[in-house]
């Protein structure tokens, strides 16, 4: 299918819509979370010193809080921070930009697979307004960036496979870029490649000679990845995230035996392999649960969910059913249909191998094939309604569907900007609000105390202090230390200058004289601040009829 002026118009239209949705109130609406702050500060550190926060020169993995972040996002932030400085907007600009481009790649993929411009347009539109996709491309997540790159790779790969002149070199390079962006792509990309080989084996075999060049390039590009796989950092990341690294506590088996299990029954009915396998299947299927997709979403994680709805619009269920029916009935090549089906099936595997029962960010790959089907569904629904002879029924059905769709889109934006933000502003899995304000407030007292202790219960205060103070990286690198980084938990920066980051235990800490304490009210309860030994200097960030942080001085 040749590129026409119409395609250009569609691209402009889709990109404008995506960009408006993804850039509107980008930096002043959602609070920065510690991952974003860490990406930003490490990029700032690279810009200033050529080293990460721990002083490692141009690393291929960033230790950060013990999660060993992948390098592409950090390095891509360097020129942006050089241009606009270290700010929330700088950190979020690149993910939002790539998120706005993603529907364009999907447009071309759909056009190639389904051979209809109008379906490609609807699919791109579905992705542009997809709550699931917006969620992870409006915030600084490496998953959103990686998936856009992967979509570009998938498009070029399909082009290479389907077209006579196609080359495999470019998709190989693009895929490798994605592999250096997000952990999930290291699982998803091999799976989508296997899918491609499985579906298009004849076409690929026919291009045997062309593959030789790509194979050599692939081997060359694979070396650093293979090296990083066996590195301590990636080993830790793997152990902390996946079910393969999970070791059942001994108490679990003791309890089973106390309830009446014997050694053979534990081995038969409760073996770790069986339970991990079942857990994998459970997690995999959870991503197709209507509850997750259309009703509630992943409510456990504030950064993933949108209050009052699932990861997609409720009306999408109708479109997906119609889209599936269209694909089943249409005369499109079975290979293309198979490719879309396997794309859907392999997408949640990245998430299913982790310990979370369901995880929207790790399963972001599902958004594209689901958008293709949604787009096909829009097309098919319009076609069916258009064919109805009774114009009253025709208008009625069209109006009901259009009204429902508009309602759910309006509800989504209201929920995103109003209802959800109040509910997910706080806590380790929330948006970590209040840190910017508390860092600003701290500056007034910083010079007056020998020691300032900041509580870590809301996770990662050290990185917010570094980020918002724009603390010189060369000074921090000499003081950097990560505490509490264990196989099952992430660590915390220990401190710098007169800052100490740790859990505050007020019954003991109240006896530390001439110290400034900063923490949430549950750690520094107002009723326990006695005027003879301490006083509240300031309360920061109003929230839920109270404040998120108390700043307390001891005498």
């Amino acid at each position: 299918m040749k590129f026409k002026a119409g395609d250009f118009l569609v691209i402009i239209l889709i990109f404008t819509l995506s960009a408006v949705i993804r850039f509107y109130k980008l930096d002043d609406f959602r609070c920065l979370n510690w991952d974003e702050a860490s990406f930003g500060y490490n990029a700032y550190s690279i810009l200033q010193t050529g080293k990460d926060e721990y002083g490692t020169s141009l690393p291929m993995e960033f230790k950060s809080v013990g999660d060993y972040k992948y390098p592409f996002y950090v390095y891509s932030l360097v020129p942006i921070i050089k241009l606009w400085g270290l700010s929330e907007f700088s950190v979020r600009f690149f993910p939002s930009l790539l998120g706005s481009i993603a529907p364009i790649f999907l447009y071309f993929i759909t056009r190639k697979l389904l051979q209809k411009r109008v379906i490609a347009f609807f699919s791109a539109l579905a992705l542009a307004i997809s709550p699931w996709h917006i969620q992870f491309t409006r915030a600084g997540t490496e998953g959103g960036i990686a998936y856009t790159i992967t979509l570009a790779g998938i498009y070029l790969l399909l082009k290479a496979v389907i077209e006579k002149r196609g080359s495999f070199v470019l998709p190989a390079i693009i895929f490798f870029l994605s592999l250096y962006t997000y952990f999930g792509e290291r699982v998803f990309i091999p799976l989508i490649l296997l899918t491609t080989v499985f579906v298009f084996k004849k076409e690929i075999i026919a291009k045997g000679r062309k593959l030789a060049k790509t194979a050599i390039l692939t081997l060359f590009l694979l070396v650093p990845i293979l090296l990083s796989v066996v590195s301590i950092g990636q080993g830790e990341k793997f152990a902390k995230t996946t079910i393969f690294g999970y070791r059942r506590p001994d108490e679990y088996v003791f309890e089973l035996k106390a309830q009446g299990d014997s050694n053979p029954t534990v081995n038969i009915f409760h073996s770790a392999t069986l339970e991990n396998g079942l857990s994998f299947i459970n997690h995999f299927l959870n991503h197709f649960s209507p509850d997750f997709l259309f009703v509630k979403g992943p409510t456990e994680d504030g950064r993933q969910y949108i209050w009052g709805m699932g990861m997609l619009y409720l009306t999408d269920i109708v479109l997906i059913i119609f889209g599936a029916a269209f694909l089943y009935k249409s005369k499109i090549s079975t290979k293309y249909k198979k490719f879309i089906l396997f794309w859907i099936l392999v997408s949640p595997i990245t998430s299913a191998i982790t310990r979370d029962p369901v995880h929207a960010r790790r399963a972001l790959a599902l958004t594209a094939p689901l958008s293709i089907i949604t787009g096909a569904g829009m097309y098919y629904l319009i076609l069916i309604i258009g064919k109805l002879k009774n114009s009253f029924i025709k208008i009625l059905l069209a109006s009901v569907f259009a009204a429902s769709f508009i309602y759910f889109v309006a509800f989504y934006f209201a929920s995103y900007y109003v209802f959800t933000s109040k509910r997910t502003a706080v806590g380790p899995s929330g948006w970590q609000c209040g840190y910017e304000e508390v860092v600003t407030a701290t500056q007034k007292y910083k010079g007056s105390f020998n020691k300032i202790i900041i509580d870590t219960s809301y996770q990662g205060p050290y990185i917010f202090y570094l980020f918002y103070e724009k603390y010189p990286p060369q000074k921090y690198q000499r003081q950097a230390r990560l505490l509490g980084n264990r196989s099952d938990t992430l660590g915390e920066g220990g401190g710098y200058d007169n800052y100490e980051f740790r859990a505050i235990y007020w019954p003991e800490d109240r006896y530390l004289t001439k110290t400034l304490f900063i923490g949430p009210p549950e750690r520094l309860p107002e009723k326990d601040i006695k005027s003879e030994e301490s006083q509240i200097l300031e309360k920061v960030y109003p929230y839920n009829n109270g404040f998120l942080f108390h700043i307390v001085e001891t005498f």
Partner: protein
Amino acid sequence: MISKLLVNKPVFFAKEVFQRYFESFDPSFLFFKGDPETTKSSHLAGAIYLSFLPFFLYGAYKNKPLILLLIVLAVPAAFFAPHFETLTRIPFLIGLTYLTALGTQKAYEKDKRIFSILVAFLFFEILRFFHNYTVHYPWFLAELLNKT
């Protein structure tokens, strides 16, 4: 004003109904956990066996009009307050089992090897269920009684 248009009693009620309706199709409920109420489920198994899934999918694929029956059978549970409630979902589960049976028959006719593997897994699941039901479930019930 806009908030009231978007979130109001009828909308809230409709969403609650949809939520309960879709709970019938929840994989965790169907294959892994079952009813959240301990007296109605051991929490160590779902409302049906996991090995039913491939047979069910095959049965549904071969008998597409019957999927409509399943869609209708899930309706009653949507109007009952408890979430993931099993008793109101019995008609739905019967419909699901019927489609599974149809799929099992077709699978037997098509590929006896795959059929045998899945049936072997089904037997294992039945054994596992009875093991959990007789060994571990009483402990959960006892814990529940202790709490109340």
